[in-house]
């Protein structure tokens, strides 16, 4: 008998929670495919190492962009491989709960559930990421108080106000940490005339990227390809430059948080000042982002203890209490 699963099918990483066992898999949402034969060559960490370093007949891709499936066939194969790796076979078909951004369309929802069913699930239910994140971050969402959570993922940023087990206000934008990486790439290309890959851009963001000036601001030497000569070139990038480069996506995220605050009922709004806003997701780990949101909203912002795992833990709790929490699944509200 297969154990039921919860999957956080993120743009950046995929995490799998198995009922009764906890998190059993955590790896990048990347798949490497042989273009000639159509065979899958690698997934997860192995495929991630191949990004930008493959011969022309191998393509290492992220099948999700902005939280939505961009390549249905590849996504289905990736989910099938994930299920196989956690022990699901042709004869054991588990129930699966999948976390998706609240902003996805009806067509995108159907694409996710169809891909999961075809990959071997007996039943596929969807749950909104901010709701799963709030459960996983252990916020007191069973009480009649305002709980605000910001989930900044690879492709989307979602802010939700939750009270009494339901979403009261929600704001989502298709801007995430990959957009931050992309702005760094285009800045270095435009201002320094050097082309860098998405992995280098991510490393720049992690090491010297920030949303607010701080005493720890540093510089870094970046290696890339000179656009004029075509030769390798090293340039020095400062933290201030990176902050300037990423201002647009950061401002869009902060604006969506403000919009969600303005949608919240006044009775709940006062709770945020005393309880604070919780930040989850890999994008939320950008240095100074919590301070920036706090400064612009005048509300304290706290980092969750498990920013990367909160969503899948929340979905895992739903799979552990499947019958009681059925009402939380996206299809059940239609």
């Amino acid at each position: 008998m297969a154990r039921d699963l919860a999957i956080d099918l993120g743009t950046a990483n995929t995490l799998v929670y198995m009922k009764g066992r906890g998190i059993v898999l955590n790896e990048p949402s990347v798949i490497a495919v042989n273009r000639k034969s159509g065979e899958v060559l690698a997934t997860g960490h192995e495929a991630w190492d191949m990004i930008g370093r493959t011969p022309s007949y191998i393509v290492a891709v992220r099948p999700l962009r902005g939280g939505a499936i961009t390549d249905f066939d590849i996504t289905e194969r990736m989910i099938r491989l994930l299920l196989q790796r956690v022990g699901v076979s042709r004869f054991t078909r588990p129930k699966v709960v999948i976390c998706v951004p609240s902003a996805i369309t009806e067509v995108e929802r159907r694409a996710v559930t169809d891909a999961t069913r075809r990959a071997g699930a007996s039943d596929a239910q969807l749950i909104e990421q901010p709701m799963a994140a709030a459960i996983g971050a252990n916020l007191p969402i069973d009480e009649p108080v305002g709980n605000m959570i910001i989930d900044i993922g690879g492709g989307t940023s979602e802010t939700a106000v939750i009270s009494l087990g339901g979403v009261v206000a929600l704001e989502a934008v298709r801007v995430g940490s990959f957009d931050i990486d992309a702005t760094i790439q285009s800045y270095v290309r435009r201002e320094h005339g050097v082309a860098i890959g998405e992995r280098t851009a991510e490393e720049i963001k992690i090491h010297i990227g920030s949303a607010e000036p701080s005493a720890q601001d540093q510089s870094a030497d970046i290696r890339g390809r000179d656009l004029v000569s075509g030769l390798p070139k090293t340039v020095r990038l400062t933290a201030e430059e990176v902050r300037f480069a990423i201002e647009e996506p950061v401002a869009a995220i902060v604006l969506s948080v403000k919009r969600c605050l303005s949608k919240a009922p006044p009775e709940l709004a006062q709770d945020f000042i005393s309880r604070g806003i919780y930040l989850v997701g890999g994008g939320g780990m950008l240095r100074g982002l919590a301070d920036r949101i706090s400064r612009e909203t005048s509300v304290p912002v706290l980092m969750s203890s498990q920013p990367l795992e909160a969503v899948v833990l929340g979905a895992g709790h739903c799979i552990e209490n499947y019958q009681s929490l059925r009402g939380m699944f996206m299809g059940s509200r239609r």
């Binding site: 906890g22 252990n138 969402i141």
Partner: protein, 71 residues
Amino acid sequence: MIALGILPVIFGLCAAICGVVLLVLIFLDFRKTRIDDGISAFHRHIDALSPQARRDSIVRNDNDSNRGQYR
């Protein structure tokens, strides 16, 4: 003779009224059950989200992931 002829009509009318009353009572009881179902389902939902209910699935994993067990 006329009085005897009316009796079946009266009995039929009584039976029809009793039937309607019974149906109304069944409907009201069914409606009450549905309201009770809503209340109990909501309580189950809220109870499943309580910190006690989440202790097993989330706090246990919090400790596990801090130790890096799943990686």
